[in-house]
């Protein structure tokens, strides 16, 4: 099967499930179902070819790493929120902000997006820009611990990079 066809089928299934969960749970109606199929088809025709770009084999370990990643992300989000709450409630605002550069080995668009999103949701950091060719991320850090690129990479990106690499590459 061609890659584009696969991508279109995946988009159709995802959009149909989203539509189904929003409208159909608890009551069942043929009209809604037909409208859902039509809308999913339109979505598939317009944006179907951009979801999957490269072919990969199915691996069971990827599912385990995805579950691990979700729990890791939840834990980091909770830590991030407590950190921000501490900073905001502290009377002297103990911040030391700045923009640092970190390195990354990830090459694909999807994995870079996930890494940037994870960095934004974790304590004290906000991704500003990505340079894909050099493999560099610019990160705004609210409480800088190190300006050095290697140490910053270790502290900011090291938490997620391995898991994301296993999931997406």
């Amino acid at each position: 099967m061609k890659l584009e066809t696969k991508s279109r089928i995946a988009v159709f299934i995802i959009s149909f499930i989203a539509y189904f969960v929003i409208t159909q749970i608890g009551k069942f109606d043929w009209q809604e179902l037909i409208v859902g199929i039509i809308i999913s088809l339109i979505t598939t025709i317009v944006t179907g070819d951009i979801l999957i770009k490269t072919e990969r084999k199915f691996k069971f370990s990827r599912i385990l790493y995805t579950i691990l990643y979700i729990f890791q992300l939840l834990w980091e989000i909770i830590k991030a929120n407590i950190h921000v709450a501490y900073l905001v409630l502290h009377p002297k605002l103990p911040i030391k902000p700045g923009i640092v550069k970190i390195r990354t080995d990830l090459k694909k668009d999807s994995s870079l997006t996930m890494l940037a999103n994870s960095i934004t949701l974790t304590p004290g950091t906000l991704t500003i820009d990505v340079n894909k060719e050099e493999g560099v991320l610019y990160v705004h850090w609210i409480d800088i611990k190190s300006i050095d690129i290697d140490k910053a990479t270790d502290i900011i990106g090291g938490r997620f990079e391995k898991t994301i690499k296993e999931i997406f590459e």
Binding site: V21, I22, N81, I99, L121, L126, I128, D129, I147
Partner: protein, 110 residues
């Protein structure tokens, strides 16, 4: 029982939304404010939605919050990143407390 858990989740969400808004007022510049706004408001809103899900159960109203949580977690960081990048390109200054700005040094990149 599920109602009590739902109310607790909604209260936690509201508290973190409040911290996010407080950060928006207290922190010094665009970038720091975005940090507070993105993190706390994402988590707070997700908390409120999770509370609604726990109270409603697997019904038509209870599953919509789950979809909303997924979309918020995926899109909030992207919008924060877009705003921060646009602010930096529009030459909005960082606060005086700033230690280092590596993005400014590599400016010939864009």
């Amino acid at each position: 029982m599920s109602e009590i858990i739902g109310y607790i989740l909604i209260c936690i969400g509201l508290a973190f939304d409040f911290f996010g808004v407080l950060g928006l007022v207290r922190l010094p510049d665009v970038y720091n404010r975005l940090q507070a706004a993105t993190k706390c408001v994402t988590f707070g809103t997700a908390g409120i939605l999770a509370g609604v899900f726990v109270m409603e159960g697997y019904s038509s109203m209870g599953l919509k919050p789950i979809i909303c949580i997924i979309f918020i977690l995926l899109t909030a960081p992207v919008s924060a990143h877009a705003i921060a990048r646009a602010a930096h390109r529009a030459k909005i200054k960082l606060t005086d407390k700033t230690i280092v700005d590596k993005y400014e040094e590599d400016k010939e990149l864009y």
